[in-house]
């Protein structure tokens, strides 16, 4: 009876995972087609060649037979659907950071500024502690 419960839990978890994954897939596909004009038709020659270059790179350890290539292209197309908005969103986030931080702070200075601020804070705390231990 306990083993049967494990199977039921596994089925429920699989269904939940697939529902989340498929919902995200269709949302991403809608964004891709509507806002970024992504071509998702596998049968067109241009799209097929681009996918071919990417799948030959990613699955360099597999032999290049015809049916294997078709499956690889489907996987790479799915990965592109998931990854397109993420990539463009990352570029947009970098642009937003540059715009908001202005001319004074470029991206390469963010870590340096953080470290400097931390060092100033530490120094201030140390001075307070010295003052405290001197007079009490």
């Amino acid at each position: 009876m306990e083993k049967k419960d494990y199977v039921v839990e596994a089925v429920i978890g699989l269904i939940g995972t697939m529902v989340v994954a498929l919902a995200l897939y269709f949302v991403m596909r809608y964004i891709d087609v509507k806002y970024f004009d992504m071509k998702l038709d596998d049968s067109q020659a241009e799209v097929y060649q681009e996918l071919q270059a990417m799948s030959n790179t990613l699955f360099f350890f597999l032999p290049q037979t015809k049916w294997l290539q078709l499956i690889e292209n489907k996987i790479v197309l799915m990965l592109f659907v998931y990854g397109g908005p993420v990539l463009i969103g990352a570029i947009a986030a970098i642009g937003v950071v540059v715009v908001l931080s202005g001319l004074g702070g470029s991206i390469t200075n963010v870590a340096t500024n953080y470290v400097n601020n931390q060092a100033e804070e530490l120094q201030r705390q140390e001075e307070e502690y010295r003052w405290y231990s001197h007079y009490h």
Binding site: Y6, A10, L14, T17, N56, I75
Partner: protein
């Protein structure tokens, strides 16, 4: 619900591992894609597929978990 969270955790680990292998693959064998571009192009292509591998790995982990539980149920009957 707990099994779903376990699936997503395992999928996240798988996605990190696959992203590392994929960055090596694009850096070494990806001259058809990254030819004539700076190194940031390679890095962006490596990070771009992370969400896809995350979801794919979660679903595959769910299938493997189901198969393992079925086998254990059949063996201990």
């Amino acid at each position: 619900m707990e099994t779903m969270i376990k699936n997503f955790k395992t999928g996240f680990t798988l996605a990190i591992l696959i992203t590392c292998v994929q960055a090596y693959a694009i850096y070494t064998y990806g001259s058809a894609i990254t030819d004539g571009h700076p190194i940031g192009y390679t890095l962006l292509y490596s990070v771009m597929f992370f969400l896809g591998w995350f979801m794919l790995g979660s679903v595959v982990t769910g299938f493997v978990r189901l198969i393992v539980s079925l086998i254990s149920m059949l063996l201990t009957r």
